[in-house]
Point group: C2
Chain length 216, copies 2
């Protein structure tokens, strides 16, 4: 019974996600679902990517958090349109929440819509939001064993961004190990190693993303 209920919820979500995707496509907007642990550096990565995205590409952001406005305020400070979703306890965004938030944006003025999910390496894996691309963010201090422990989120993602590489000299982190694990789980997904604070790896990542958006 519980499994059936879960399947039904996911089926409804899949339909709403398809609606979101169709709406974004019609408006020429490329959706990117950004997932990762709490504190993996999702917002800081977005801030760094904005600075490198070509001037012709206009971003917007939907911020998902249990509570608070911290991330939305950071995005707003950059002059980027942003809508904050407070899930009030829910552990992931779903397509219905994103549909509501999309209604608050002027999509005709947006090229790429980043949807920053709730910090969660488990529950976000099961919910399509209507994106064209899902990026999983893993920070070096979290350790190189996370793909083994949380396979679903890596398996369903289109790229892995290893963040906070500036901390690697102070850690026992083997980038080759997590890259090999990601290649097993998602053979076609590129792996980017970046330090958003130092700007390292950001131009290459932004170039790849711009190509994806350009192909929409």
């Amino acid at each position: 019974m519980k499994i059936l209920a879960a399947k039904k919820i996911l089926k409804v979500n899949d339909q709403l996600a398809a609606d979101n995707r169709a709406k974004l496509d019609a408006a020429g907007v490329f959706g990117v679902n950004v997932v990762g642990s709490p504190g993996s550096g999702k917002t800081t990565l977005l801030e760094a990517l904005f600075a490198e995205l070509h001037a012709g590409l206009k971003p917007a952001v939907i911020e998902g958090d249990i509570a608070g406005l911290i991330d939305a305020q950071r995005i707003e400070a950059l002059g980027v349109p942003v809508v904050q979703i407070n899930t009030e306890g829910a552990c992931h965004l779903d397509a219905a929440m994103v549909a509501s938030a999309m209604g608050e944006l002027d999509l005709s003025a947006v090229d790429v819509l980043f949807i920053e999910n709730v910090g969660n390496l488990v529950c976000t894996a099961g919910f399509d939001l209507g994106e064209r691309l899902r990026i999983v963010v893993l920070s070096t201090p979290e350790g190189d064993d996370k793909a083994v422990k949380y396979p679903a989120i890596f398996q369903g993602s289109h790229a892995l961004f290893i963040t906070k590489t500036d901390l690697t000299p102070h850690l026992n982190f083997n980038a080759q190990r997590i890259t090999a694990d990601m290649k097993c789980l998602a053979p076609n997904a590129p792996v980017f190693q970046v330090s958003a604070l130092k700007g390292q790896g950001i131009p290459e990542a932004a170039k790849w993303l711009a190509e994806k958006v350009g192909g929409r």
Copy 2:
């Protein structure tokens, strides 16, 4: 309807958790539920605490992970009794899982049972496992804003362990900010700042824990 269903599940869990607690009490075992993000350093903290716990206190561990045996193998290497729970997708441990795992341990040979939950700062908050104490682990690279973003898990915990303090010189992390937030959410919970790798703060934390266990 959804809320009722969730309430019913939680009610069943609460009853099972009470059973676990009674069973642990009868065996003279003090249960500790350890929660935190993926990669916050929960296992490394346990490894460091074992080394400092007085010889008279015998630990055991229940490890919760979506998949894999990595953490259980680390604990086993220390000669500490350990049971691995693979949740196969579930985002938190529940009291029924812990009851099963407890059945695999010789409780008469245990003084303190650490239950390392799935790495998740959201879903673990709502489920009593039958512990006497819940410790929330936050690593410095996750950032000092996490109590604002994920209040429930901090509010319901009996102590905050700030881990990986050796990385602080390389981060923008304000320990005073998170400590103040924790004091608002859980006024009686002590805050420990530790570096498990360097051994800093571990003796004080182990002393506090031993006192709690001793008062069982």
